[in-house]
């Protein structure tokens, strides 16, 4: 007979959950050069990332965080805070959820969406640093692009639906109602669907 199996999570993830690194102690963020927050409590996930920056070299010297969320949310912010130290702002800005998941030794599919907030919060913190330091020109907004004009569905909505489990055009329509009126956006939506499946699930 088999004994109790391992958790649904990898050993690396479990280690980061048991001993999270770089938690921001207390509430004071004054010592940090950039602060970013993403997510909301109603949905069950919220992450705050704060960074210290070496202004000469444009590199991140310290990264701390707070997370409201499940084990994979906690572990992914913890591992992200380790990954970014020493990286340039530009390099750190481009860390993808997939890299975070890889560093954690993989995440179950239904947990991917718990881990995407960390890198979003990091980007918000980097943008916050740029804004504070008179470098607004470097701020990169993640502006949403409307794909389905009829239902006002953006590429972000489509990405969220993929993260929430939509894998086919039909499932995407069930999640977002995209393309349910005139249907002209179908081709563009299908390209995005494949793109986000590839980015987040390597599919």
């Amino acid at each position: 007979m088999l004994q109790a199996g391992e958790w649904a999570y990898s050993e690396t993830l479990k280690e980061h959950f048991m001993n999270p690194k770089n938690i921001l102690q207390g509430e004071n963020t004054d010592d940090f050069d950039g602060v970013g927050m993403e997510g909301n409590l109603q949905c069950g996930d919220q992450m705050m990332v704060v960074i210290k920056v070496d202004k000469e070299k444009d590199t991140i010297t310290d990264c701390q965080w707070k997370t409201y969320g499940c084990a994979s949310a906690i572990a992914s912010t913890s591992v992200l805070s380790e990954m970014v130290k020493g990286r340039t702002l530009d390099d750190a800005f481009h860390i993808s959820p997939k890299e975070v998941a890889l560093e954690l030794g993989g995440l179950p599919d239904h947990k991917i969406h718990c881990s995407v907030l960390g890198d979003k919060a990091l980007r918000a913190a980097i943008n916050n640093y740029y804004t504070r330091n008179g470098q607004e020109d470097k701020v990169k907004q993640e502006q949403a692009k409307v794909i389905c004009q009829c239902m006002n569905i953006t590429d972000h909505d489509i990405e969220d639906a993929v993260l929430e489990g939509a894998r086919t055009y039909f499932e995407l329509q069930e999640h977002t109602k995209c393309g349910t009126v005139c249907g002209q956006c179908k081709d563009e939506t299908e390209v995005l669907l494949e793109k986000y499946k590839h980015i987040h699930f390597g599919a």
């Binding site: 919220q46 409201y68 499940c70 906690i74």
Partner: protein
């Protein structure tokens, strides 16, 4: 104390009662088909019928009113599915095409109801108050000559709230509809007498009463219209096809028998444990709220929301300490929504994500409660320390 193991998830499932285990092991060699006329078959038949008598006795039913099925979910599916049959031979569902149920039922009732709605059955859902009690005024307003069946769970699996099934049944019968109660969480924890309740259908599951998994029973009051869900065999007097799960049924019979003996003395002890647990949590942890009814609930079930912490994190940190509980958080369920039961009681989505259910059972001890009370406060403190949501003195302070 790292070696201590605490199982506080009895509403999910229970361990086999030692007596049940003993009897099932002794019966392992019994392989006959109860439908066979030879000695092997007659041995199996005798044991199935003996179990039927024990289950019937336990809930005050007659033996021929008990149908053994594969699970509580199957029993619930069977009852609800009576309503899509348009034959005039069947339950008068064809003329009374409305089903009333509640927003806090088990998914096997809710999802079956949704499916029936697609097939043309009208389904109405009763609201519950903040304690999880069904709104009887709303029920009175919904009842009419279009209603064929009302299905209300007796005890809620997540928050333990008990409904007044006797009163509800009277209202339902007065309008000429049939009454079903999913009593999976109530049977074995509180006295259940089908005659006193007056119900037409009642669902029981073996594994919630220290019996084996994969077997349940459906009580169908004598004379109530009925149609099998699984067809093609004469088993269970044609009401549920498929060769009987003889070993499981035997175990269920023994489990019911043991509950009859042990249950009466147990409630007070469990209620005391729950009070100590609740008081201990209230005294050692700030910003918590208790979900469920303060008095009219299961003695064994305590559901607590912890502000600013997500339930799966609590569950897994407790698991590392050898303590098993469950959570209403979305993350633990694989869906994106937190507990539908807590949301129906008006609990904020965030507090639903931070809910933990402690459900105790016959072997739960004061030592276990004390161990939990040692371990839990530092865990909550630790998670709150890393949470964006929780800043002492005010929720959301960090978000501002």
């Amino acid at each position: 104390m790292a070696d201590m193991k605490v199982y506080f998830d009895h509403n999910a499932t229970t361990p086999l009662h030692p007596e049940v285990k003993k009897e099932m092991i002794a019966a392992m060699e019994m392989f006959g088909n109860p439908s066979s006329m030879h000695a092997y078959g007659r041995e199996a038949r005798a044991n199935v019928e003996d179990a039927r008598r024990k289950v019937a006795d336990f809930i005050g039913a007659k033996e021929n009113e008990i149908i053994f099925v594969g699970s509580g979910s199957e029993a619930n599916n069977t009852v609800l599915s009576l309503f899509v049959c348009s034959s005039s031979q069947c339950i008068p569902g064809s003329r009374r095409g409305t089903i009333i149920t509640t927003k806090i039922e088990h998914p096997c009732v809710l999802e079956t109801s949704e499916c029936l709605a697609h097939q043309g059955v009208r389904v109405k859902y009763l609201n519950v108050d903040r304690y999880g009690k069904v709104d009887l005024d709303q029920l009175a307003g919904m009842l009419g000559d279009d209603v064929g069946l009302v299905s209300v769970m007796m005890a809620n699996n997540e928050i333990g709230t008990l409904q007044d099934i006797e009163a509800i049944t009277k209202m339902v019968h007065a309008c000429g509809a049939y009454m079903h109660t999913d009593a999976v969480q109530a049977v074995g924890k509180v006295p259940v007498d089908v005659r006193k309740l007056g119900v037409d259908f009642l669902t029981i599951s073996a594994h919630k009463i220290y019996g084996p998994k994969g077997v349940g029973a459906l009580f169908v009051k004598h004379g109530t219209p009925y149609c099998p869900l699984i067809r093609g065999g004469h088993q269970e007097r044609g009401r549920r096809a498929g060769t009987e799960n003889t070993l499981g049924i035997l175990g269920m019979g023994r489990a019911a028998e043991m509950r009859m003996i042990e249950m009466p003395e147990e409630e007070e002890r469990l209620l005391h444990l729950k009070q100590v647990l609740q008081q201990g949590i209230e005294e050692s942890i700030d910003d918590i709220s208790i979900n469920g009814h303060p008095t009219d609930g299961l003695a064994s079930t305590l559901n607590v929301s912890f502000t600013g912490v997500e339930g799966e994190a609590i569950l897994l940190y407790l698991d590392l300490e050898g303590i098993a509980v469950s959570t209403g958080s979305a993350c633990a369920s694989g869906s994106l929504d937190p507990s539908h039961v807590l949301l129906a009681t008006g609990v904020d989505a965030e507090l639903a994500h931070g809910s933990i259910r402690f459900s105790m059972g016959r072997e739960s001890s004061m030592q276990e409660v004390e161990y939990l009370l040692d371990v839990l406060p530092p865990i909550i403190q630790r998670i709150r320390n890393m949470s964006t949501a929780y800043i002492k003195g005010g929720l959301h302070a960090a978000s501002r």
